[in-house]
Symmetry: C2
Subunit: 249 residues, 2 copies
């Protein structure tokens, strides 16, 4: 998201995560953007099967925007069999139906299935295919699961880094139980009813002065409605001090 | 994801969704990739506040890879106030802590909060800031909620289209209840116990012939363990026919 970059003062978030395997990536730039997407969600282990361009060429690290650590640690393999040999669970990411008798899962379920395996020290991989035409049937055939995304069927084409981004997002969300990097500052405790009632008293007295509560038979309803507006706010002590100041002014 | 593109034979998935507002996007290319990310998750309504480049210039539609429909329908505004005037709920997407007394939510909760409002016919918007420095404090001040992503704090920089992608993904996942574009083909019903027991009988007879079950006192345990391997598979009728053929061969 705009507005924040690499921050070397902060701890890299995740310790263990799935290995990301790219099969025959065509452009170094896409390897770079994939590394960046991995870094966003704390994934570190990248494996490249027979990359068509040198992933450490000028374009890849530039596209990675500082995720050099992922790129520099990338391992290379000549074939997918070699890249998955130490893995116990392999997911093949594909947007195409390969018509294989293999469970098809989404990114959220993928995270759920990978988490206990990785926590137990197993090596788990998600395999992504070529930019242009994805994974071959025999490559999907090596996997335990097919991983696909819920997408608009009329517009199902995600680029490589974006597919990795979403898989990484669901992984990280699960790993951190959805914890966000910051929350609403809590500078002030909730207002007590005593403070609220004092505010209502002054508000209603000022409104009496300007003859707001007319006609008289509607006064009670008007007061209740007005109080409910402020009660729905779940106001803090500071909120009521501010509003009280407004009324007295 | 690689391997699938725009498919005009398929129905555009979503009917109503949040409006995406980009405040002063600097590069037409980023407007294009944002339109593509929106299209992936069935979002159609794009609003641009004071874009720095013409979003319909050559580079934007190219980057959008066919999401021209989103780009061509984009509305332009001179300020954010104008872009949100018909909205009833506005979320400001930001990676920075703005220190404002406003609830901070993630993309999943954003989808939950937006869904009933949109279903009720309200216009809801998610506002994204400039590529370089995000949203200004006063712009965040116009929103009802702050939307931020769970990201690696040491590497929190997502590009504009990727932030939109994840918000769109959670929206679409909720809207479609996580339905995936395809599932495992179910060509064969689960095997009956009768079929399994016939398979076990032949398997065990063949293994007797090659004196597999030695020593004799371990025979019972070996049979149980072997049967459990096949029982864990939750095999289909076709699976057992195939394995039965293997044994008889």
């Amino acid at each position: 998201m705009p507005g924040a970059g690499t921050d070397k003062t902060k701890r890299w978030a995740a310790t263990a995560g799935p290995v990301v395997i790219l099969v025959e990536p065509q452009l170094a730039e896409n390897v770079g953007t994939t590394a960046r997407a991995m870094a966003n969600f704390g994934l570190e282990r990248l494996r490249l099967v027979n990359p068509r361009e040198d992933p450490l060429s000028a374009r890849a690290p530039a596209a990675a925007s500082g995720a050099d650590r992922v790129l520099e640690g990338a391992e290379r393999f000549n074939d997918l069999e070699g890249a998955i040999s130490d893995c116990t669970l392999v997911l093949a990411a594909t947007a195409r139906e390969h018509d294989q008798a293999k469970p098809v899962i989404g990114p959220e379920q993928a995270a759920s299935e990978m988490a206990p395996r990785i926590a137990a020290g197993e090596t788990v991989a998600v395999v992504f295919g070529r930019e242009r035409n994805g994974l071959e049937n025999d490559e999907v055939g090596l996997a335990d699961r097919i991983l696909t995304l819920p997408v608009n069927p009329a517009f199902a084409s995600l680029n490589l880094a974006q597919a990795v981004l979403i898989v990484g997002y669901e992984w990280f969300k699960r790993k951190t139980a959805g914890a966000l990097p910051f929350r609403m500052p809590e500078k002030s405790a909730p207002a007590s009813k005593q403070q609220l009632l004092a505010f209502f008293a002054d508000l209603e007295r000022e409104l009496e002065k300007v003859e707001f509560f007319r006609p008289a038979e509607k006064r009670e309803t008007m007061v209740i409605n007005l109080r409910n507006i402020f009660l729905r706010m779940q106001a803090t002590q500071q909120d009521i001090r501010t509003l009280h100041g407004v009324v007295l002014a």
